[in-house]
């Protein structure tokens, strides 16, 4: 003890020890803090990667994916087809945007598809996809896609994976809550994200509250042909109708739309449309609307809009211009529309597989409200209203509420469902997907997304019978997830296995455009129907040739019509003379092959339009206006055979005032 004290005293006597001790203490503190600081980086983003993820997404060479997924191409205006679980891109179907690769919007046959009341429009912003349904389950016949900017609705035929029809939506702007569909594909809806002046067109912007309206269009689908027509429109208060879903089962007759900007702001919406704690889910009884329509309650509203249909028989599109539309005013139609308060600026309006629960995704809300369809009906019956908006009754929030999911995450956007009673909601702000029990309203699992998930998709996940095996998450931000490609990075989706209790991230895969919304369907439902070739003897194109003997060149004034046949590996004719500067040349090119996967391409030097890709049995036309007298080569652009490089021809153009005579041949006589 004495010794110890001696040492201690000696230590304290020392000149150097105290500063050293202090420095040591400091160093320890510093190290501890640094260690704490470094430890912070993992934790929140640690992945529970399943060991067999690679196996689960691996589709062996020559094997097929289990599901097709159709992911909207966002601002590309197109629709992309991927396989699940591989995430492989199979095809980009041109819909609203021109595609020079395929000649879409450049050939005479496809140009009418992009015609609108505003003229030819080469682009749109495509947000949502919806498969046609029978008995509330995707039937694999068609898929619908909305055009947001110039309001349009497209139908894509899943036999050909081509756009079959585009319908312009009159009295609309920002066609966002579209193209959601009823259980038996009775109607596809189109709702306005932007309200606009409808009764009078030229009004001051600040007359928004008085002069602006939204509309909800009910587009009737012909059950055989799939052809679309605007059956009726409903005039609504000037809110922003964001998303929607049809009821199913017990709620079959109803359609539910989320709406924000019930503040009716027309400037700085970011702030001014985020003020109310609750906006609305709008419930529309479309059966009732049909009754009112039959009773003649609708007025005829004059408005010009285009209806473009592609015919696989003539391989051509035709536009018809429509002039009026039936418009229902809720004021004349009691019991047709109700508003249900929904926290806050809701995005998704999603109906569970039973048709009983309606989930609002309030993107600024801190809970997920779940409404009960039966309680909603009861509330209507008991008149449990909280006043009205422009004559439309507002149902009391609690009266229609099944319950709220507490603390789900931040920024709930969109909910899909599996077949085991669980809902999956995307959380944009907290960048995750939460899985929750619909009946108990309890969160059971959460998985991070990389990064900032928008919509999510489970094949059949908005139908009566979800195939609850995979979940696709469509992200808004990718940052460091892929090799960098300059400031503009790839867009991406992620695949999760949801067959077990916990969601497991399996795969990141790049996508085109901004992937907004998707649909998925078991591959076997489509594979068997997929068209392999067009039958040449059923080709009703007016400029088709069925035999090379019909190949010819005809002059009509300053138009030169060239009827070309293509068979591996030559054009008939491949030497053409007699065209003059100032002529407009129409190349009507028929692919005469009848073999699977033998498309031919066609391009002529200096053409200021595009190439054409022509499928077996198909005829397509491109125009060409040569400016200089010389000989121009044309050739096949799609590698078709061993002699593809030999598949070429020449067309001679002579001066405007020359006495050029039409001549054509293949091979020397």
């Amino acid at each position: 003890m004495k010794l110890f004290r001696k040492i201690l005293n000696k230590a304290f006597d020392s000149h150097v020890l105290p500063p050293i001790t202090a420095a040591l203490i400091l160093a320890m503190l510093f190290t501890a803090l640094l260690a704490a600081g470094c430890g912070k980086k993992d934790g929140t983003t640690t992945l529970n990667m399943s060991e067999d993820a690679a196996n689960k997404v691996y589709v062996a060479p020559g094997k097929y994916d289990e599901f097709y997924s159709f992911i909207s191409g966002g601002f590309s205006g197109q629709l992309a087809v991927y396989g699940l679980p591989s995430g492989r891109l199979f095809r980009v179907i041109p819909v609203f945007s021109v595609d020079p690769e395929k000649g879409w919007g450049y050939t005479e046959e496809t140009k009418p598809m992009l015609m609108t009341s505003q003229g030819f429009i080469p682009w749109d912003d495509a947000h949502h996809t919806e498969l046609s349904m029978t008995d509330g389950v995707p039937d694999g016949r068609w898929i619908f896609l909305n055009g947001n900017n110039t309001p349009r609705l497209a139908r894509i035929d899943l036999k050909t994976f081509r756009t079959a029809e585009i319908l312009e939506i009159p009295n609309s702007a920002g066609n966002h809550s579209s193209p959601f569909i009823t259980e038996n594909s009775e109607y596809v809806v189109c709702g306005t994200r932007f309200s606009i002046p409808i009764k009078e067109l030229d009004v001051p912007i600040d007359s928004y509250k008085e002069k602006f309206n939204g509309t909800i269009s009910f587009v009737k689908i012909n059950p055989q042909s799939g052809n679309m027509n605007v059956d009726f429109q409903i005039l609504t208060p000037p809110f922003d109708y964001d998303l929607s879903h049809a009821g199913k089962g017990p709620s079959h007759d109803w359609f539910f739309f989320s709406c924000y900007n019930t503040e009716e702001a027309y400037t700085l919406l970011e702030v001014n449309a985020s003020q109310k704690d609750k906006d609305f889910i709008m419930a529309v009884n479309w059966k009732k609307a049909e009754e009112y329509l039959k009773q003649g309650k609708a007025t005829d509203k004059e408005s010009e809009y285009y209806h473009n249909v592609y015919d696989d028989g003539t391989h051509s599109a035709k536009s018809e211009i429509l002039k009026t539309v039936k418009m229902l005013d809720p004021k004349d139609c009691p019991g047709m529309i109700y508003y249900i308060p929904c926290p806050k600026s809701p995005h998704g309006a999603d109906v569970d597989p039973s048709g009983e629960y309606i989930i609002g995704g309030g993107k600024l809300a801190t809970v997920i409200p779940v409404f009960s369809f039966s309680k909603m009906l009861k509330a209507i019956e008991d008149k449990q209203f909280d006043g009205d908006v422009a004559g439309i009754p507002v149902i009391k929030y609690e009266a229609a509420l099944h319950g709220e999911v507490q603390k789900p995450g931040l920024g709930p956007l969109h909910t899909e469902f599996d077949d085991k009673g669980f809902a999956y909601t995307s959380m944009f702000v907290s960048s995750e997907v939460v899985k929750w029990d619909i009946k108990k309203l309890e969160v059971v699992d959460r998985a991070p997304s990389f990064y900032s998930v928008g919509h999510i998709m489970i094949p059949g996940g908005d139908s009566k019978k979800p195939w609850g095996k995979y979940l696709v998450v469509m992200n808004k931000i990718t940052k460091d997830r892929f090799l960098p490609t300059g400031p503009e990075l790839t867009q991406s989706a992620q695949l999760y296995d949801i067959s077990g209790e916990k969601m497991k991230l399996l795969l990141d895969f790049p996508t085109i455009g901004e992937p907004h919304y998707a649909q998925g369907i078991p591959a076997e439902m489509l594979v068997k129907n997929s068209v392999k070739i067009f039958k040449l003897d059923e080709n009703k194109h007016p400029y088709a040739i069925k035999s090379v003997n019909d190949a010819r060149v005809e002059r009509k004034g300053n138009e030169v019509h060239v009827y070309i046949g293509m068979v591996r590996s030559h054009f008939t004719p491949d030497n053409i003379e007699g065209v003059k500067v100032g002529d407009k040349v129409f190349f009507h090119v028929t692919n005469m092959e009848q073999d699977w996967d033998i498309p031919h391409g066609f391009a002529v030097k200096g053409n200021n339009t595009s190439e054409m890709l022509i499928m077996p049995g198909e005829t397509q036309t491109i125009t060409w206006e040569p400016q200089t007298a010389t000989v121009y080569p044309f050739y096949c652009t799609d590698f078709c055979s061993a002699l593809h490089q030999e598949m070429q021809g020449y067309i001679r153009v002579q001066p405007k005032d020359s006495n050029a005579q039409i001549k054509f041949q293949t091979g020397t006589k």
Binding site: D13, P19, T44, S430
Partner: protein, 201 residues
């Protein structure tokens, strides 16, 4: 005072000059969608880092913009630190225990005042929210921690001293330690000095 004490005081005071060239405090924000990190560094006279991004994010929940030009502390702090450094140098040269005592007290007051001021700024920043903000989470405030880490909505905020801050804090702690040392364990020397003076007398 012992020579080593005086040298420590001088060295530490001069070391604090480094705080003019290194950040004092850093606030880091961590969220899954910011794998590259997001943060700001508070210097003696400026704030650097992802201010624009942070301001952009914070406007959703109605937090005020961080505008370095309007933070008066950034203009005052260089002078306060300069005063402390000067005071430290004087203390080191004079080598008087009483002056060291005053220096330690002034240093601590300055440190505590700085901490309180920072806390108050953070409090105001995290609580004084625009009532018209797009996202309002009932009962939620967004005050970053003074020291440590905290979950704020989807972000984890980490607030720790940076290099300059550590030097100043280290100096503060060392000053307290050398003062205690002088006070408690250097009585002998004091007595020696007294005796020496007596002897001279």
């Amino acid at each position: 005072m012992k020579k080593i004490t005086r040298i420590t005081i001088l060295v530490c005071s001069l070391a604090m000059i480094a705080a003019y060239f290194t950040p004092i405090w850093s606030i880091d924000l961590e969220a899954p969608q910011y794998p590259e990190g997001l943060g700001m560094k508070i210097w003696i006279n400026k704030i650097t880092g992802d201010l624009n991004t942070i301001n952009g994010l914070n406007h959703y929940i109605g937090m005020k913009k961080i505008e370095p030009d309007s933070i008066k502390e950034l203009t005052i702090m260089p002078f306060i630190l300069a005063s402390l450094i000067l005071f430290g140098i004087i203390t080191g040269f004079l080598g008087r225990k009483k002056i060291l005592g005053v220096f330690v007290v002034v240093f601590l007051i300055a440190g505590i005042a700085g901490g309180v001021d920072f806390y108050m700024w953070e409090y105001d920043y995290g609580h004084d929210l625009d009532p018209t903000a797009a996202i309002i989470v009932p009962g939620m405030s967004y005050q970053p921690p003074l020291f440590g880490s905290e979950q704020l909505l989807n972000f984890v905020a980490h607030s720790y001293p940076d290099t300059g801050g550590w030097i100043v804090i280290g100096t503060g702690i060392l000053m307290v330690l050398v003062f205690i040392y002088e006070l408690k364990f250097n009585k002998k020397e004091q007595n020696k000095n007294v005796q020496y003076e007596h002897a001279k007398a």
